[in-house]
Amino acid sequence: MTIFQRVRSILFGIATFIAAILFIIFPDDGAYGWVIMTLFLGLTIRGLKCIIFYFTMARHMVGGKMILVQGVIILDFALFTGSISDVPKIYILLYLIGIHAFSGVIEVLRAMESKRTVAGHWKLKFSHGLVDFLLAILCMVFIRHQNTSLLIYSLGLLYSSVMRIINAFRKTTFILIE
């Protein structure tokens, strides 16, 4: 990671941290709309990027189909996210529970796989999966609360921003080729 990328990562982390705090303090419908819009745009761009990368480059790569699958799932989530602005909040909560539980389980499974083939690099993945799973449980616990979805989303945002800032300071393992 270059210094510029680190600075960018830290600034982005701080911005999302502030946004998350603002959402928690002022949980109104406007903030809720912003969350949906941001998720929709972010996921759409990421999904399309993966799909284009697959068809141009990764289809020749061992394991490249995973990139296509990833792209399609992300795009699917994006479109679904974009279409839920007018539905009752209970469905959004169920959606959030589904997303967090699913990605939590996947992340834990990936951590277990890493544990088998890559020594010492599974803990971060595992904790990430665990946090995702905990967020899903929190959604269940506070399902009756009016602004639960926004609160849970903000907590997730807080976690991501802190992780982003921590990662910006981490050393990146690099093999010096001789």
Binding site: T56, H60, V62, T117, I175
Partner: protein
């Protein structure tokens, strides 16, 4: 490859090829200097930055990965450490950008190796050392490309170390970790590699980073799935490859010295090592992180002289204190000229195939390349 092969084994090969002790040392020093001649070093000694033959870890971490930045990385790594095997290699049903990257995959016995050796003929010993580094790396770094690319250089969990056991071969799954500060654990087959990065142009996807230092160890045999190979496994037999690299270096240096009329691919001077073959094989197959001591004692037995350890700053003073118009005649001056000539040749050859991943050779490169007395 590491200092053991680039310095000590190159010394042995040069001596067997007929060079004197002093000449062999100069060739070996130049071959090893390729691994340390970074822009940081050249800035320190006020040398030409175009002559950089490697990038330090810090330089790479700060390297840009926009098209111009990628060209800069590719110029250095494809020229000196991952010489492409076949610049016209075909891959069906792919776009040009993928094919351009595919064509940069390194391997031995390609046309560019011939051009590299031919370019060093009639030049200074420093150019011979550079050519020997490049040639040796085509064996060690085969199947990886000197450009950042996930779709070419990635590897996955299919990675097994192979242990010949009589007529059969035992396998052990290799475990990777991402702790560069810890030495590889040979006993338990635990090696350090670069992190998986899903970004195509991440610097983590340069060369053999995803396979760790496995290609650099002469003793290791392993099988794995290269990202570009269409699910066909590759069995990498380093002991066999390193022996070929050693004997091809002898053959190449005999050509450069004028003992052979021409340099052809797939020719190895096995005869030249006849009486030492078992000794050399034993060094190559010995399970150790660095074989410098073994190669050194073999080299000292060969020549009867003491082989000094590689000292990076051996020629710094000579270069720094020389007047500007005499710098070209110093050891490092000759090295930098040889490096620029070689880099210019490789960039030009890549560009000639309409592949722009390494950019265009600047006029200064070409002027140097076509200058008759580059020595």
């Amino acid at each position: 490859m590491q200092e053991d092969f680039h310095y000590y084994a190159t010394y042995c090969a040069a001596f067997i090829a007929g060079y004197s002790h002093k000449e062999s040392l100069d060739i070996a020093y130049s071959a090893q200097f390729v691994d340390v001649c970074s822009r940081t070093l050249l800035t320190k000694i006020r040398g030409p930055l175009d002559a950089a033959t490697t990038q330090l870890k810090l330089e790479l971490m700060e390297a840009r990965t926009d098209p111009a930045g990628l060209q800069d990385i590719t110029r250095i790594w494809s020229s000196f450490h991952f010489l492409p095997r076949d610049l016209l290699a075909e891959k069906k049903h792919c776009i040009k950008h993928y094919r351009d990257k595919f064509r940069l995959i390194c391997g031995p016995n390609g046309d560019l190796v011939v051009k590299t050796v031919e370019l060093a003929k009639g030049k200074a010993l420093q150019s011979v050392g550079i050519a020997m580094h490049v040639l040796a790396d085509t064996w060690a770094h085969a199947n990886f490309a000197g450009t950042p690319s996930l779709v070419i250089n990635n590897t996955n969990y299919v990675f097994y170390e192979l242990f010949p056991d009589g007529e059969s071969i035992k396998e052990k799954q290799i475990k990777f970790r991402h702790k560069a500060s810890m030495p590889d654990d040979l006993e338990n087959s635990i090696y350090t590699n670069s992190l998986y990065q899903s970004s195509e142009n991440s610097i983590m996807n340069l060369g053999h980073g995803r396979a760790g230092h496995l290609p650099d160890y002469s003793f290791v045999r392993y099988r794995y799935l290269p990202a570009w190979g269409g699910y066909e496994e590759i069995i990498k037999d380093n002991p066999s490859d390193y022996l070929k690299a050693f004997t091809q270096m002898i053959y190449a240096m005999k050509y450069i010295r004028g003992d052979n009329d021409s340099f052809h691919t797939n020719v190895y001077d096995i005869e030249a090592i006849g009486q030492w073959q078992d000794r050399i094989k034993a060094i190559i197959e010995k399970r150790q992180l660095l074989a410098s001591d073994d190669w050194k004692s073999f080299g000292e037995e060969l020549s009867g002289e003491t082989i000094e350890d590689f000292r990076i700053d051996k020629y710094f003073d000579e270069y720094i204190k020389s007047p500007r118009n005499e710098k070209n005649e110093t050891f490092i001056g000759k090295f930098t000229r040889g490096a620029i000539a070689h880099k210019g040749m490789v960039i030009e050859e890549i560009y000639r195939t309409k592949n722009k991943l390494a950019g265009v050779a600047r006029e200064s490169f070409l002027a140097m390349l076509f200058k008759k007395d580059a020595g």
